[in-house]
C-alpha cells in the first residue's frame, strides 16, 4: 500500500495546483463586461495636453470613428502596449485619440517625448472625473467609438497583437459595415 503513496501524494499536489489555477482564472477581475457597449459615449470636455487653453469635446470628435486610448506616464502596462499602438495606428483606419489619465502634464509630455506620440488628438484628464463616466478603473483601457459617438468596443489592459487582430480590427470593420 505504501507503494501507492507517492502517486497519490503527487496527484493531490497537482490537484491543488490545478484548483488554484482554475480558481484564479475564474476570478480574474479584469474580465468584467462593460455596460457601455452600444451606448453613447458620455459627453466630455477636456483640455488638450499640449495646449490646455483649447478643449476637446465629444461633439468636436463626431463624424469619424476613433479609438480612445487611456494611458499615463506612471502606468507600466501602457509602456508595454505603446510600441504596438504606434506600429498599428496607421493601419487601423481610425483616428487615435490619446486620453492622459490622472497624470502630471509635464510627466506625460516627457513620457511621450521618450516613447513617441502616435496620437492625432491628445487630451488630459488630470482629476480622473470624466474617466469615471467612461467606467475606466485602470490604465491602459481603450474604447472604439463610432462616427455617431457610440461606444462599440472596449478593451481593458494593454493591447497584444492577438487582441488587435482578433478583436479590434474586426470591430473596426464592423463599424464600416454598419455605416454603409
Amino acid at each position: 500500500m505504501s507503494r501507492l503513496l507517492p502517486f497519490v501524494a503527487f496527484l493531490a499536489l497537482c490537484g491543488l495546483f490545478g484548483f488554484g489555477i482554475w480558481w484564479n482564472s475564474h476570478h480574474d477581475q479584469t474580465a468584467i463586461p462593460s455596460p457601455l457597449i452600444d451606448k453613447p459615449a458620455p459627453a466630455f470636455a477636456l483640455p488638450e495636453l499640449d495646449a490646455p487653453e483649447r478643449t476637446v469635446t465629444k461633439a468636436s470628435l463626431l463624424g469619424k470613428p476613433y479609438l480612445l486610448n487611456v494611458f499615463a506616464s506612471w502606468c507600466i502596462e501602457c509602456g508595454v502596449e505603446h510600441p504596438l499602438l504606434q506600429a498599428e495606428a496607421p493601419t487601423l483606419g481610425v483616428t487615435l485619440v490619446g486620453y492622459n489619465y490622472k497624470d502630471q502634464p509635464a510627466d506625460a509630455k516627457a513620457w511621450l517625448a521618450r516613447h513617441g506620440n502616435p496620437y492625432e488628438v491628445l487630451m488630459a484628464d488630470l482629476s480622473g472625473k470624466t474617466a469615471i463616466d467612461f467606467g475606466v478603473y485602470a490604465a491602459p483601457e481603450s474604447f472604439l467609438i463610432d462616427a455617431q459617438g457610440v461606444i462599440r468596443y472596449k478593451h481593458i489592459g494593454p493591447f497584444t497583437p492577438e487582441v488587435i487582430e482578433k478583436e479590434l480590427k474586426p470591430a473596426i470593420a464592423a463599424l464600416s459595415e454598419k455605416s454603409s
Binding site: 502606468c75 507600466i76 516627457a110 513620457w111 482629476s127 478603473y137 485602470a138
Partner: protein
C-alpha cells in the same frame, strides 16, 4: 510485547517525532522569512502595519533620486497609480536603477518613510516583474468606484 513489534513501534515513534520536528522547524523558518510585496498605495492604506519587514514595489518617480554628496546615502520616491513612498537606502544601487524603473526594495518602515536594506531593479520599464505587475493591478482593483454619484461628490476613491 515481542521484540520485533517493540522495535517497529520505536521506529514508528521515532519517525513521527522526526517528522514533527522537521515540520515544526520548516514552518518556523518559513514564517521568519516570508516577505510580502506591497505597493506604496497599499502601504499608505495601512496594509503594512502587520509586517515588520516587507518588500515595497513600484516605480521610481522621475527626478526623485537624490544622492548625498559625501556618503552613500540615497533617497528616492517609489510610486504606483495612487500612492508614493519616500525611500532611504545607504549603499551602492544596482545597475539599471534609474527613473521610471520598476524597483523592489526590502526593508521596514521608519515613521513615514521606508528604510531599505536591499534594492532590486533588474528589469527595464517595459518589462515589469510579473509579481509587481500583479500587485499593482490588485492594488488598483481594490479601489473600484462604488457609483457615479459618490465620485461626483468630489471624493476621489481611486
Amino acid at each position: 510485547m515481542n521484540p520485533t513489534r517493540k522495535r517497529r513501534l520505536i521506529i514508528v515513534v521515532l519517525v513521527l517525532a522526526a517528522a514533527a520536528v522537521a515540520s515544526g522547524l520548516t514552518v518556523f523558518a518559513l514564517q521568519q522569512n516570508m516577505n510580502y510585496l506591497l505597493t506604496p498605495s497599499q502601504v499608505q492604506s495601512g496594509e503594512a502595519s502587520g509586517y515588520k519587514t516587507f518588500r515595497l514595489g513600484g516605480m521610481v518617480k522621475q527626478g526623485s533620486i537624490q544622492k548625498a554628496g559625501d556618503s552613500l546615502k540615497v533617497t528616492f520616491t517609489v510610486i504606483d497609480a495612487n500612492g508614493a513612498m519616500p525611500v532611504e537606502y545607504t549603499g551602492i544601487l544596482p545597475d539599471l536603477f534609474r527613473d521610471n524603473q520598476s524597483v523592489i526594495a526590502t526593508g521596514h518602515m521608519d515613521n513615514a518613510h521606508f528604510v531599505a536594506t536591499e534594492v532590486l531593479a533588474k528589469h527595464d520599464e517595459t518589462y515589469m516583474p510579473q509579481e509587481l505587475k500583479d500587485a499593482m493591478a490588485k492594488a488598483h482593483e481594490g479601489k473600484k468606484v462604488a457609483g457615479g454619484d459618490d465620485a461626483m461628490k468630489g471624493t476621489d476613491s481611486r
